[in-house]
Amino acid sequence: MHSFLGVLFDGLAYGALLFVISVGLSITLGLMGFNNLAHGVFAMAGGYLLVTLISKAGIGFLPALPIVFCVVALGSLVLERTLYRPLYKSTPLNQVLLSVGIIFVATAGVNYLWGPGQQPVVIPEWLSGQYAVLGLDLSRYRLFLMVIVAAITLALVFGLERTRFGAKIRASVDNQRTAESMGIRVDRVFQLTFALGSGLAGLGGALGVDVLGLDPNFAIKYLVYFLLVVVVGGPGSVFGTLLAALLLGVADIAGKYYVPQLGAFIIYAAMIILLLLFPHGLLGRRKSR
């Protein structure tokens, strides 16, 4: 029984991690419909920024997180204006080509600036170690991640469903022309949405590096995971992304614990099965077009 609860907790914690690193993509790919394979680049930027802030500027882990979010979001605005915007209405293939180009540039750039090795990430004392609850050892950092995930989900759901800005985003995404005729500045809305998605990517990267490690190939190494979570969840749905992340997380951990021989297959098999059952994602909006 204990091991079952333990596995469940680990699974949920892993799901939380998957959610944190993918939720930004759920916004850029899902809401805006841009095939942004370079999501990992923003996550990686977040990671390196965090490491640099902590080791060079001496800023603490917690205060560094909002800085990372803001800096990555601001930085992404430059890319949005110069590279992404011209391709909003282009074919998906062109968007793929562009984002792969960005990945190449970023990988080589980071390699040049920081070298190819793993970066040390020091998390504060109070976040390392475990709490013993009911005979279960619960990792503090994982609990922290779960809290962050809950906060992000609530903030996003509230922000996208209940605020004026959220309404504008949904209107712009659903029908650009109508939104424009209603006086919404669609390009501004897209810009801000893109910044939000990238900022979240950066934040996710910063939070993920303690578990995932950080080297110049971060962007390509975890690309499959980002896509997996977002597509299974249903692009554009924050709840769907959360649900998919938790489901895949629990399936993966349970599989690895109970049938370790199949360790490598589980997450991919789970993805294929889920996609065959829900071709538009768990909570995806069925596009009638």
Binding site: P116, V121, L212, N217, Y222, Q261
Partner: protein, 390 residues
């Protein structure tokens, strides 16, 4: 229409010309072609190997026996045998090199075996660690190590120090399987017992369930082999988070896991971990000091055992050039390699004349914090260990 055809042909020719032969007649230079993993997920491999080689050239000058040494570095971009084979072929046919060197990965080395045999090209393996490589061509010589070579001493040390029940955890791929088998064989032969084994997928950001299984089966120690990179970092974090050390489960690894240049990324997590390997940055000898100084002139990053592989490979090649007085012939060069002794930064190395593999000391080390950095500190030595995989 023909005009378009003409343009097309011109275009193709133009592009092809970019990659056309630039080979110039060799005479006063000796060319060494290096095939290394400079980009991709394993760019760390190429980075260390090539910079290790460059460090040797920096230290000893680029002229030997009156010949200028030219290093031609080619990026193979990860484990991709067909590219390795193509690069080797081009190095031989176009660049007319005298030696080929490098190889972080086994498949890259194996793929070039037929052509180096056909071309009688002396080829120095600077890292790839599967035993069989040197049996695939008489023109292979390896200056690094093999996996069983560093694994077996770990089993012996564990048994000597009273460990009887050990759990093994390896990465689920060829070298992992080899390491698991080598450890199990050596350890059970001595009377120890492997109480459980896990194979972890190579793409695995989450070690939780595996570490939990180890904890549940309560062994005295766990033996771990993972490829250098992000896996050891993730594993060590999980190992500590779940309090295996506190539960009295000792961690024993090969040196790949306790790779010198991830030490600082591991930080406190790795303190006290025991590993066996042929090289540590902390090795105390004048040769190592010279190596570290030379490397620091090229790159500020801390080198690791692969850099030593590159460094020693160059040393071996320099020795051969000296012996042959600058006139390189494949068979003579191979004869010169056999039985060669090197005063390596890792300690004395002998190239086994029979297998063309390195015979070297394997050290038992423990991770300690010295100043603000972390090092593998050697405390016991297995002298002149041969590759037990053959």
């Amino acid at each position: 229409m023909f005009r378009i055809g003409f343009v097309f042909v011109m275009l193709l020719c133009g592009i092809l010309a970019l990659s056309a032969d630039q080979a110039c007649a060799a005479g006063s230079t000796i060319k060494i072609g290096m095939i290394a993993e400079m980009t991709g997920s394993f760019s760390d491999f190429g980075f260390n190997i090539v910079n290790g080689a460059k460090a040797y050239m920096k230290e000893h000058g680029d002229t030997v026996a009156g010949k200028k040494i030219e290093l031609i570095v080619k990026d193979v971009g990860g484990p991709s045998p067909e590219v390795a084979k193509r690069l080797a072929q081009e190095l031989i046919v176009k660049d007319k090199v005298d030696f080929i060197a490098g190889f972080g990965f086994t498949p890259n080395a194996l793929a070039v075996a037929p052509i180096i045999t056909e071309a009688k090209m002396p080829t120095v393996i600077m890292n790839a660690a599967t035993s069989i490589i040197t049996t695939k061509s008489p023109y292979f010589v390896r200056v690094s190590m093999t996996l069983p070579q560093t694994t077996e001493p770990m089993a012996q040390w564990a048994h000597k120090n009273g460990y009887r029940k050990i759990y093994t955890l390896v990465a689920d791929y060829g070298p992992g399987h080899d390491s698991e088998a080598a450890f199990k064989k050596a350890f059970t032969k001595l009377g120890g017992q492997v109480v459980g084994e896990s194979r972890v997928p190579l793409k695995n950001p989450e070690f939780g369930p595996y570490v939990q299984r180890i904890k549940d089966s309560k062994p005295q120690a766990v033996f771990v082999f993972l490829p250098a990179g992000e896996m050891p970092v993730a594993f060590m974090k999980s190992y500590n988070e779940r309090g295996l050390a506190k539960a009295g489960i000792k961690l024993l690894t090969t040196g790949d896991v306790m790779n010198d240049n991830v030490q600082d990324a591991l930080g406190d997590h790795a303190l006290g971990v025991i590993s066996t390997h042929h090289y540590s940055v902390d090795h105390k000898s004048p040769e190592n000091k010279a190596f570290l100084a030379a490397f620091a002139k090229i790159e500020p990053q801390r080198p690791n055992y692969m850099a030593v592989g590159g460094y020693d490979g160059m040393a071996a090649i320099y020795n051969v050039i000296k012996q042959l007085k600058g006139v390189i012939d494949g068979d003579k060069a191979m004869a010169a390699f056999k039985g060669m002794k090197l005063n390596s930064p890792r300690g004395p190395v002998l190239i086994d004349p029979a297998t063309r593999d390195a015979i070297e000391n394997i050290y038992v080390r423990e991770v300690k914090k010295i100043g603000s950095h972390y090092y593998n500190v050697e405390f016991e030595t297995f002298k002149a260990v041969k590759d037990p995989g053959k």
